[in-house]
Symmetry: C2
Subunit: 163 residues, 2 copies
DNA sequence: TATTCCGTAAAGTTTAAACTGAACAAACTT
DNA sequence: AAGTTTGTTCAGTTTAAACTTTACGGAATA
């Protein structure tokens, strides 16, 4: 009875932590389920199966499978092996901050690189278009590319200085 | 005829720029319309009215009104006054990079602050709950709060160093 | 004062994301 | 080999975001 009540209170705290902490994690472009799932894994001392997660979150197994896969893609979660276990087991990466920042920064740098290339391509096309060398547009393009360079610097700095 | 063709080509380049540049801007948590709208304003040498935007993007005036309002909230766009003009006029902020970073960093810092407070509140509640002082959960909470502190440092650094 | 024009609000529709349940294939058990 | 178990795919549904149209209030014009 005492224990029972105590467990409920613990659940309550966990519930609050999941609710609040996941809000921050969502800012790393994770959706609600992915964020909540990570916090649950983070709070668990044991690795969890898809069915464990399903029960914790009260959502379908398919939803768990999908969400865990994107968390794996971002290296925020890892699959662990346990002797004789048939079900897959997952746990949160230990280096919480480092992994999140790395995943985040990489996502930014990838996107910046991709779009910068596109803009440079457009720049080439304008140059090689003799019919009209539009100064105004070219200038804007140059500025947009500089914008991407500056962004790149910011995120490279995060990589170098902060973890 | 010559001019006509030239204008079409220019439209083409503009169209590509809008398409590509806006992808980067979406990463600042702007939606597609807001991003495209900003690029259009950015490319325009003249301030634009809601109807101008409507025509450029091919969407409803209400959509323009809503999007421009969030861009205003983020200080990415400003309303300008012109003698005798009845319609509102808007233009992109000059300091492209600075404004975007500022808006972005502030959004992060606000959210971090809010969630950190929530987590600290939970920490208090656990401490004052004599029935069970759960070490494991408390430790995780502490780490989560440190996580927010570290995040705060990163974004404060961006503010201080980079623009 | 009546009328036109402009921006926003409200209500309803469309579109995309998130989720579920059934079905399936691979791996494991017996 | 037959029957389970497990994770994933697929088809369909629910839910939320984005968008459009109509309506309205305030300001400018006549």
């Amino acid at each position: 009875m005492q224990t029972r009540q105590s467990e409920e209170a613990l659940d309550h705290f966990h519930h609050n932590m999941i609710s609040e902490f996941s809000k921050t994690l969502e800012m790393f472009s994770l959706n609600t389920t992915e964020s909540q799932l990570f916090v649950i894994l983070y709070l668990s001392d044991e690795p969890m199966t898809l069915d464990d997660m399903k029960n914790s979150l009260g959502k379908s197994k398919t939803a768990m499978s999908n969400s865990i896969r994107t968390l794996l893609d971002y290296n925020l979660v890892e699959r662990v092996w346990k002797k004789g276990a048939r079900k897959d087991l997952y746990q949160a990466e230990k280096d919480l901050f480092g992994q999140f920042m790395k995943a985040y920064v990489n996502r930014w740098l990838d996107a910046i690189d991709r779009q910068k290339s596109s803009l440079k391509q457009i720049e080439e096309n304008i140059k090689s278009d003799e019919l009209h060398s539009d100064q105004q547009t070219s200038a804007k393009l140059k500025e947009a590319i500089r914008f991407h360079d500056a962004l790149e610097d910011v995120f490279n700095d995060i990589n170098n200085n902060d973890f």
